[in-house]
Amino acid sequence: MCLAIPMKVISTKGNTAIVDLDGVRRQIDISLVSKVKIGDYVIVHAGFAIQKLKKKDAEETIALLKEVNSEIHR
């Protein structure tokens, strides 16, 4: 039930935003997250953004995964 999915912010208006996932768009509440901008990815649960997805951290994790892979094949 704690399912939450990353969706891309298309537009914002006050406490609400329109978000998109593969062409599916819906209005969500963004009052629980600070400074939401167009183009951000937010984690959406039950019609609310509960956090912004941090690009830098995602890339760091991916880099770590690549490292594990190359260690194994060394």
Binding site: M1, C2, L3, A4, K8, D29, S31, L32, V33, S34, Y41, I43, H45, A46, G47, F48, I50, Q51, L53, K54, K55, D57, A58, E60, T61, I62, L64, L65, K66, V68, N69, S70, E71, I72, H73
Partner: protein, 364 residues
């Protein structure tokens, strides 16, 4: 930003599995890791991760599905409310079919009660606006991920002076339930895979009690195959003594150590911590959320006059033990025979994220 494929990359999975086998081999003895999130339970089963792990690493599921841990008494209250005149019950879809001894919201619906499934509690507010002659009651279940959402909606209803919207408060807090499991002497656990989206809200601090008091490592994990395998590897490295036993965040792209401060603030504004009953475990101190006095006019239990007959579990159903991780769904005499997703006997088969439903769909 196409990240999903990177977290499902088969080469990365191979690399992680190989490292896991090497560390587990060094440990030697049996290691039991528990996940306490229904979304993890489903992700592990769907990706077939159990089959990739060494024989001495066992993954078990804990009380991670909020619908499943809601006790009969809570469902009985929802059923009793649905029988009131001029009342519309609104609920997340997961709760709709969960049975108690008195039936389910689905059965009430078929008998003529007004039940509506909603995606967000905001949808319930909209129904309340459109139908001012009715009381619209939202069945408020969920862990810390969902509690701030429900708190926001209650606060919004107050600001907008919406008077016919009510919440049956059944939100729960997960770390106290985890502590009950580790302090049980009959229950051996070596590590926790902590829930990613609960932790988006609460951060990593509430889990610190586990390494500090019980010497049990915790890793807050994401939901893709690579996330979960990396979390298992981190746990094994701590158990093997290669790293200090602590709370680690693997799901760094979404979780900050301090959590979501705004969400925690609104949760504390609307709810106060109370004792709460969990299916299979019983009453757990400080594990639930009650609506504060300032918002009492939105508390369905306080405002509505309902008489509730508390029902009992169907004898033989072992959902309670499955939720504690003591038994597996395959230990149940009903599993796959009389208990199926179409005709569920217990809540762990009903919920799309229940342990029995995950085993039914994906495990051998």
């Amino acid at each position: 930003m196409k990240y999903i494929d990177s977290f499902r990359d088969t080469n990365a999975i191979r690399g992680l599995v190989s490292k896991i086998h090497s560390v587990a081999g060094k440990i030697g003895k049996e290691i039991v890791l528990m996940e306490v999130c229904g979304t993890h339970t489903m992700a592990i089963a769907r990706a077939g991760l159990r089959q990739l792990l060494p024989e001495n690493v066992k993954l078990i599921s804990g009380p991670g599905c909020p619908v499943c841990v809601s006790p009969n008494s809570f469902i009985d209250k929802a059923i009793a409310i649905s029988e009131l005149k001029n009342t519309i019950v609104t609920t997340f879809g997961d709760m709709y079919r969960v049975p108690s001894g008195n039936g389910s919201l689905e059965k009430q619906h078929s008998k003529g009660a007004r039940i509506e499934i909603v995606y967000s509690p905001f949808d319930a507010i909209e129904i309340a606006r459109r139908k001012p002659e009715n009381n619209v009651v939202f069945i408020g279940v969920g862990f810390e991920t969902t509690a701030p959402v429900i708190a926001s909606v209650i606060k919004y209803a107050k600001q907008e002076k919406i008077k016919n919207f009510l919440v049956l408060a059944g939100n729960k807090i997960i770390p106290p339930a985890m502590e009950i499991l580790v302090s049980d002497v009959h229950h051996h656990l070596d590590g926790f895979i902590c829930p990613g989206h609960v932790s988006v809200i609460i951060g990593s601090k509430p889990y610190e009690i586990f390494p500090e008091k019980y010497n049990i490592p915790c890793v807050i994990s994401g939901f893709e195959a690579c996330d979960i395998l990396q979390s298992i590897l981190y746990l094994l490295e701590m158990i093997a003594g290669m790293e200090k036993i602590s709370v680690k965040i693997q799901y760094t792209r979404c979780v900050d150590p301090e959590g979501n401060i705004k969400a925690k603030k609104i949760m504390n504004e609307v709810f106060s911590v109370c004792d709460s009953e969990w299916r299979g475990i019983g009453l757990i101190k400080s594990s639930g959320l009650a609506i504060k006095d300032e918002y009492k006019q939105y508390d369905a239990e306080y405002m509505l006059d309902v008489s509730v007959n508390i029902s009992h579990d169907r004898s033989g159903c072992i959902c309670g033990d499955v939720l504690k991780g003591i038994k597996s769904p395959v230990d149940c005499i009903f599993f796959k025979k009389v208990c199926t997703p179409e005709n569920p006997v217990g809540p762990c088969m009903v919920s799309s994220e229940g342990t029995c439903a995950a085993y039914y769909a994906y495990e051998k």
